[in-house]
């Protein structure tokens, strides 16, 4: 049963959560990816393994962590290992099925920027930086990206390539010798973009219920390609929306 009433942010979180399969081992970025990954765990993917870069493996937080190392992650995990081990044995070791990332800027090949807006040496906006993303983007078997769609974020050319997607498309990623397959979907508040199987350019392949092609094009600086057939993303189910809202309510209560 579908929900009647939901926001575009809720749709984005739900759409992203659906892409995470049960029993997947997922390396979770903080913020939107963490929200979507935990929503998946609380709905269709109870056996998903969530790994946070601070060290928890198999975290099952009851509320959304504000940071990547909150106590609820540690206390609910199957085990907590040192941070270097997360990057050495688990990510570089090739054990991550899905890397779940956010971004400040993204280009048509799903390369992402989280470093600077403007020039690196004298930036207009200094962003937080790389964190774990470059190696997650390189080494996870596949990568999911979730961010709001806007012309400021979906840009013709990145100011800085922090973490690589499909480079300049085609076989570029394979030729560069990157271990993982790279981004397989970008979920936004408007729809879902997936790479063309040959050119690896992102194309709109699903529009969220109630959103339009024009909205998607207007929110993209480059000339957005469309898939041969564009699906409509099913709206959130009652179960999804109530799981999400319960999670957010618990989180707000905790932070009060």
């Amino acid at each position: 049963m579908f929900a009647n009433d939901f926001t575009s942010s809720e749709m984005m979180a739900v759409a992203a959560s659906r892409l995470l399969s049960d029993r997947a081992v997922c390396f979770v970025g903080i913020g939107l990816p963490s929200k979507a990954a935990n929503l998946a765990r609380l709905t269709h993917a109870p056996d998903v393994t969530l790994i946070y870069e601070s060290g928890p493996i198999g975290a099952k937080p009851d509320t959304l962590p504000l940071s990547i190392g909150d106590g609820d992650l540690s206390l609910t995990a199957d085990t907590v290992v040192p941070t270097h081990e997360i990057f050495r044995y688990w990510l570089q070791g090739g054990r991550i099925d899905v890397g779940f990332l956010g971004a400040a800027q993204i280009d048509r090949y799903a390369n992402i920027n989280t470093t600077v807006i403007g020039d690196y040496e004298s930036p207009k906006v200094r962003l937080p930086g790389a964190g774990g993303a470059p190696e997650i983007a390189a080494s996870a078997k596949e990568v999911l990206i979730v961010l709001k769609q806007s012309r400021a974020a979906f840009v013709e050319k990145l100011d800085f390539v922090t973490s690589v997607g499909h480079l300049d498309g085609g076989d570029a990623r394979i030729n560069a010798g990157l271990p993982g397959a790279g981004p397989t979907a970008v979920v936004t508040d408007i729809g879902i973009l997936t790479p063309d199987p040959i050119t690896r350019e992102l194309q709109l392949s699903s529009l969220h219920s109630g959103r339009t092609l024009d909205e998607a094009r207007d929110a993209t600086e480059w000339d957005l390609k469309l898939a041969d057939s564009i699906a409509e993303t099913p709206p959130p189910t009652e179960r999804e929306i109530s799981a999400l809202r319960d999670l957010e309510r618990r989180t707000a209560d905790r932070n009060r």
């Binding site: 903080i30 913020g31 870069e53 601070s54 060290g55 928890p56 962590p65 504000l66 940071s67 990547i68 190392g69 909150d70 106590g71 992650l73 540690s74 206390l75 907590v80 290992v81 040192p82 941070t83 270097h84 997360i86 990057f87 050495r88 990510l91 570089q92 470093t115 690196y120 004298s122 930036p123 207009k124 906006v125 200094r126 962003l127 937080p128 930086g129 790389a130 964190g131 774990g132 993303a133 470059p134 190696e135 390189a138 080494s139 800085f160 390539v161 922090t162 973490s163 690589v164 480079l167 560069a176 010798g177 990157l178 271990p179 905790r254 932070n255």
Partner: protein, 294 residues
């Protein structure tokens, strides 16, 4: 204030430890990944006015925002500088974007790089080998990222310089009276940051007779530490698993305080420079007082 094994002399007050072991111009790492961030030690460094520090930290948090804003830093070596879940570190951005209070140099690396670099430092190796930085602009802006070939397979891999701080400071749950330290929960890279450094200070929630640790717990033997300083709530507003929770509320409150140069300066003057240590800081700051007396 002195507790524990006097003869050994490793257990001492924090102000004494900072006076003895932190020098102007040092390469300094304060580590702690969200958990166990050594705030009290950072505040004491600010009080004692240390300058020209090269600061290492994977995730420059509010404590580095404060140290940068107070002019302690010459250079920052880091991988992610934000207020987690809240937004920007405004003092960090102001220094990078507008040079206030002065310009700082940046050496920017990834988490995987810095984590490996601490492991290499702890292992007394000059560099670490990792899979990374392929086609990333980070490698073009940081000349200290190299690529080498495997002597057996010919594969190209990234090589990154080890981190070997002059001094590392961390916070931990407890120490015994000899100064053996126990950490538990999210461990980050603290053990490696300690073992990579020439000198080390550990602040702890409490000194106990027996650590009573499980056999494979994370223990730092007293003989690798320069000083162990009992500082209750020494990680606040970060947290110490088993003692108190993270003050997400203060992390959110920091955003407006730090956005404005004057608001920042007067906050620092009132609560850090205007207090003699962690106890007084916690008693004076309303957000802290509410939480630590609970």
């Amino acid at each position: 204030m002195r507790v524990g094994n006097i003869e050994d002399g490793r257990i001492m007050p924090l102000d004494e430890a900072v006076r003895r072991f932190v020098n102007d111009g040092d390469h300094l790492a304060l580590e702690g990944f969200t958990h166990l961030i050594p705030f009290a030690a950072g505040h004491e460094i600010i009080r004692q006015g240390r300058k020209n520090l090269t600061l290492y930290r994977m995730t420059p948090d509010l404590i580095y925002d404060q140290m940068i804003g107070m002019g302690c830093a010459k250079k920052l070596v880091f991988s992610w500088g934000g207020n987690p879940g809240v937004g920007s570190l405004h003092r960090f951005r102001d220094a990078v974007e507008r040079g206030w209070p002065h310009k700082i140099e940046l050496e920017e690396r990834s988490h995987a790089d810095l984590a490996n670099a601490y492991v290499a430092g702890a292992s007394n190796l000059p560099f670490a080998v990792m899979r990374g930085y392929v086609a990333s602009d980070l490698a073009t802006h940081n000349p200290r990222i190299a690529f080498i070939s495997c002597p057996f397979t010919g594969e190209k891999l990234a090589a990154v310089p080890a981190v070997r701080p002059d001094i590392t400071i961390i916070h931990a749950q407890k120490a015994d009276r000899r100064g053996n330290v126990l950490l538990k929960g999210i461990l980050g890279v603290q053990k490696e940051a300690v073992l990579a450094a020439k000198r080390t200070i550990v602040t702890v929630e409490e000194i106990v007779d027996e650590l009573s640790a499980p056999s494979n717990a994370c223990i730092l033997p007293h003989w690798v530490l320069s000083a162990v300083c009992p500082v209750r709530y020494g990680a606040w507003p970060s947290y110490a698993e088993g003692y108190y929770e993270r003050s997400n509320r203060f992390y959110q409150a920091w955003d407006p305080i730090s956005k404005d140069r004057e608001a920042f300066t007067s906050w620092m003057e009132e609560f850090v420079l205007g207090t003699t240590g962690c106890d007084e800081f916690l008693q004076k700051l309303p957000e802290a007082r509410d939480e630590v007396t609970a």
